[in-house]
């Protein structure tokens, strides 16, 4: 028992540390989805965020610059998605894939142009922990939740803010109405297009930030495949969390938990070939989808464009 508690605390702390990219990317997906805009470019936008997040910090000597570049690139990607789908009425999945290609190509291209090909990749200093006074002294919980880096606090607080915004304000009601029934929302004076632009851009920013977390906290450098499907898993998490900010935050513990667990077992041995442990997060994601698609209710107009001049919406 004496062994168990510190071990559990160590594990739980890592899990909370690992929720950040899932939470941010998933909340970004949720925001767009709630207005009917289904972004499927997470993986690419996160890669670009990771690349620019690293390069910003590497070139200008401060993680803040990296964050700024990553968030900015995400905003551009979101703006592009909104423009092509909302203004030009092009297929959301096709445009999402196109943005995925672009951002993924650009991420490596920028890195190669700035850093070139090196034997030893340059490193940036990773984000320091920021223990919260008093709260971090609480036994067990203090170590798990209040002795983390600033992005962890941001991800949690922002999720709570989104919950408040969506469910406790009239703006949130309008936002949700756009995804449930754009025609009704439109007839009540909600600007459907503007709402979709807003959620696409903010959503993109969150995805860019999610990507920047990876070099800034995990690796200190950028590599081409470093997002490792977390962007796609974030879509799964969004479904799993029923397109609701609070449940997404809770659900992220599961996805982050599987990720950390797979790494832990790998280090610990146990005779399971590591290849099967590497599959674990993805298999777990597929399994959760079986449950998620049974009980979730996605926004009714998810993935569908709205044209106010058209009578029907199919």
């Amino acid at each position: 028992m004496d062994e168990f508690i510190p071990q559990f605390v160590g594990f739980a702390r890592l899990v909370v540390l690992a929720i950040v990219p899932f939470v941010l990317a998933s909340q970004g997906t949720m925001l767009g989805g709630r207005t009917g805009l289904f972004n499927v470019a997470q993986e690419g936008i996160m890669l670009l965020g990771a690349s620019l997040g690293f390069l910003g910090a590497y070139l200008y000597g401060g993680l803040g610059y990296g964050v700024l570049l990553a968030v900015f690139s995400g905003a551009i990607a979101g703006l592009a998605l909104a423009y092509f789908t909302t203004t030009l009425k092009m297929n959301q999945f096709v445009i999402g894939l196109a943005i995925f290609f672009f951002t993924m190509g650009l991420s490596t291209l920028f890195y190669k142009f700035v850093v070139g090909v090196t034997l030893q990749p340059p490193l940036i200093p990773t984000l320091q922990d920021l223990p919260i006074p008093v709260l971090s002294q609480i036994p067990v919980l203090g170590e798990i939740f209040f002795n983390q880096n600033s992005m962890v606090y941001f991800a949690i607080l922002f999720s709570l803010f989104l919950y408040y915004l969506l469910y406790k304000t009239s703006f949130g009601l309008k936002l949700r109405a756009v995804g449930e029934n754009p025609k009704a929302a439109d007839s009540l004076g909600v600007n459907v297009d503007r709402m979709r632009y807003f959620t696409a851009i903010v959503g993109g920013m969150l995805m860019g930030l999610a990507g920047a977390y990876l070099p800034m906290v995990y690796t200190g450098t950028f590599t081409a495949g470093m997002v490792q499907g977390r962007g796609w898993i974030a879509i799964a998490l969004t479904f799993f969390g029923g397109w609701s900010p609070g449940l997404i935050l809770l659900g992220s513990l599961f996805f982050a938990g599987v990720e950390v667990l797979a790494l832990r077992i790998q280090v610990g041995g146990f005779g399971i070939p590591y290849q099967f442990l590497l599959m674990l997060p993805y298999l777990a994601t597929i399994l959760t989808m079986i449950f998620a698609f049974k009980w979730i209710k996605a926004p009714a107009f998810l993935g569908q464009n709205y044209d106010r001049e058209k009578r029907s919406l199919s």
Binding site: V94, G105, T108, K112, F276, T285, M289, I290, K294
Partner: protein, 347 residues
Amino acid sequence: MTDTNISTNSKAKAIAAIVLPYLLAILASFVASGIFIAIMGFNVPKAFATILFTSFRTPNGFIQTLLKFIPLMLQALAFTVPLAAGKFNIGGEGQLIVGGIGATAVGIIFADLPLPILLPLVILAGVIFGGFWAAIPAWLLYRFGINEILTTVMMNFVSFGLIDYVATQIWRDPAAGHPTTIPIGAGGELPMLISSPPLHSGIILAIIVAVGVYIYTNRTSAGYELIATGANPRASKVYGINTRKMFLLSLIIGGGLAGLSGAIEVAGYQHRLIEGLQSNFLLLGLIIGLIAKGDNSAVPFVAFFIAVLEIGASAMQRTMMIPVEMVFIVEALVLLFVLLSDVIRRR
């Protein structure tokens, strides 16, 4: 003006209406990326000459292009067939890998069988394994309604673990530095058409399959049901088409095509399973499929064009130090402009 004149005239116009937007899209993307290359301080005419003409300067360049063309076209078809039914197969990578594993397994286990028996088995194993890998997401869609984009992508990541296990644990080649299996039996290798530079007969197989896919989707009633499902699932259902079954079927066919591309890579090119054989074929396949707007008669031509760009891009990286990713941006721009030309025409 006589009647025949009018019809040839309108036919030429129809062809121009299809080809012209493509040419303009290619031109626009080259201009846009040319500006980017110039800003980076590279020689733009030399870069474009390298990208466009490397495939046609030497016999070797042309053969390399054909070898690239095979998996790219099959990957594109693996995407466009389900797309016809309105489903997005983003799992071609995993299906290629698992198809490759199936082909390799048969090629190693039955290594002593003669060619007329082993080769068909190797190819068939690739198709079946690839189809099986797609059948899992297809079934999850059929049974639980789970979004196929998510599950097909997840299956890619699962396959990465699987190929590593096969190449490092089951049939590991100890002499190779990189995770690689031992070679398949000689009877499982696709015969060579030309020996130097080497071109294997997989190209013939791939073209036959492409023609077959085209005939299926555009010339048969079964294919018509597939396209009707994609065009209007609700109307198709009312008409009596089992749309859920069409989703299932289209994804499994897509998986089989991707699996075939894996089998051809193994049986024709490498004669063993090498980790990373999937290259970036999935993404290029998606781009090809989307540039072709899902039209299976256009896929082979677009695939050849992209293969030319890819071979040119690697030459450009070798001789001019411009990263290969540059051409990826060019391809994405072509796609974007092709899509935009649709929007413009609609107005």
